[in-house]
Amino acid sequence: MNFLTLDWKTIFPQLLKGTLTTLQLTAIAISLGFVVGILLTLGWLYGNKPIRIFCRGYVDLFRGTPLLLQLFIVYYGLPRYGIRFSPFVAAILGLGLNSAAYQAEYFRGAIQSISQGQMLAARSLGMSEFKAIIHIILPQALRIVIPAWSNELIYTLKYSSVAYMIGTTELMFAGKIIAAKNFRFFEVFLVVAFIYLIVVLIISHFLRMIEKRAKIPGLQMIS
């Protein structure tokens, strides 16, 4: 094992580019998952029967099948119906729609942990159900969900590595190319692992800061 004999001048920019792609992929996918996840949760908890069934079905479907399979269906399956995406976009859709299912579960848990009295009090002031959700339920649920959501973000970051299977040129992909070219799998993958680790640590740190800042004074949060 010798890191020094590797050609860092060419390797480093490639890894950096891969890292940036991984970060972009993760950020967009988690955001997509956030928006879709919230909608799924609201539909699940407050929708009429068909909407509830759809939202539950969505969550069960995406949690019950492998992520890689979902990526393959988006990337290799959909073109049969004339829907074609670049590897990057396909990866965003696959990861994002998958994460949405998990985020919906977390949001639902958070909302259900809020006392029913909060909704009753809001409605008794004359708030519509929608207003009560926006002003009372969601602000509390989003605070409660931060720890679980932090895990989801970190999972998404790490799972984004499977996007290399459909040819997205993210960090894993870059590592694989470099390793194969230099026949130095161990060292290169160790460096890639190190990069993932650093990114995860930095993100965790920021999320903990956010969690602290979002804490409601005096309130013991159970999570």
Binding site: L120, S124, G126, S128, I136, R143, P217, G218
Partner: protein, 256 residues
Amino acid sequence: MEPIEKNVLLRVRHLSKSYNKEPVLKDISFKVKKGETKVIIGPSGTGKSTLLRCLNRLTRPDSGQIWLDGVEVTSSKTNINKIRQSIGMVFQDFNLFAHLTVLDNVRIGPTRVKKIPKREATELALDMLSRVGLVDKAGAYPAELSGGQQQRASIARTLAMRPKLMLFDEPTSALDPELIGEVLIVMKNLVKSGMTMVVVSHEMGFARSVCDEIIFVEKGVIVEQGPPDELFLRPKHRRTKEFLSKITELYGKSEG
């Protein structure tokens, strides 16, 4: 249309409600005049909370009508969110919005529901907080307050909507004994200020000193109603007498 009767603010007629075929309220009728305070008493599980929740339609009754100031609350054509703005409700466990400061709790109704400009709403909220003696806690969060303070804040939140009618569902029964007094004082001041109130409570000191009528409910029916002294001194029904002596024993006479 409802027959106009002078000064009647709330009229309840033949209200019935069942849960899973189990009747909880059976043909309840009563009225409350402007400025009156009625205290509802009755054993646990007898339908008192259900009755209050029907009044602002947090629960939908199966049959019967409720009229507030000439508007039929129970009509499906009535904009219930509009009606609820004029019916304040105070809960046993306060239900202050946990993520908002006391000031924001009181302000959120006026700003988000009534669309009052923020500055005006702040003034209004501070005014209400001073009525319940909590201006100095305006910046605190609910979890930082004692139960008595939380209940006073929740009363201020309700008052900020300028309701015509206020409903109280056992407002002091989640409180430590030494905190009950401060809430009862606020409620008595409301009575004096001319607020119309329907209060579910077993604080007989409060009932005897300020309420106009006690309504004794048992198993979903009104057994007896009348001025407190009449019920205490000359109850018509044996059950009324038994129940009153039981709660007097339980809660004491002098509190409040």
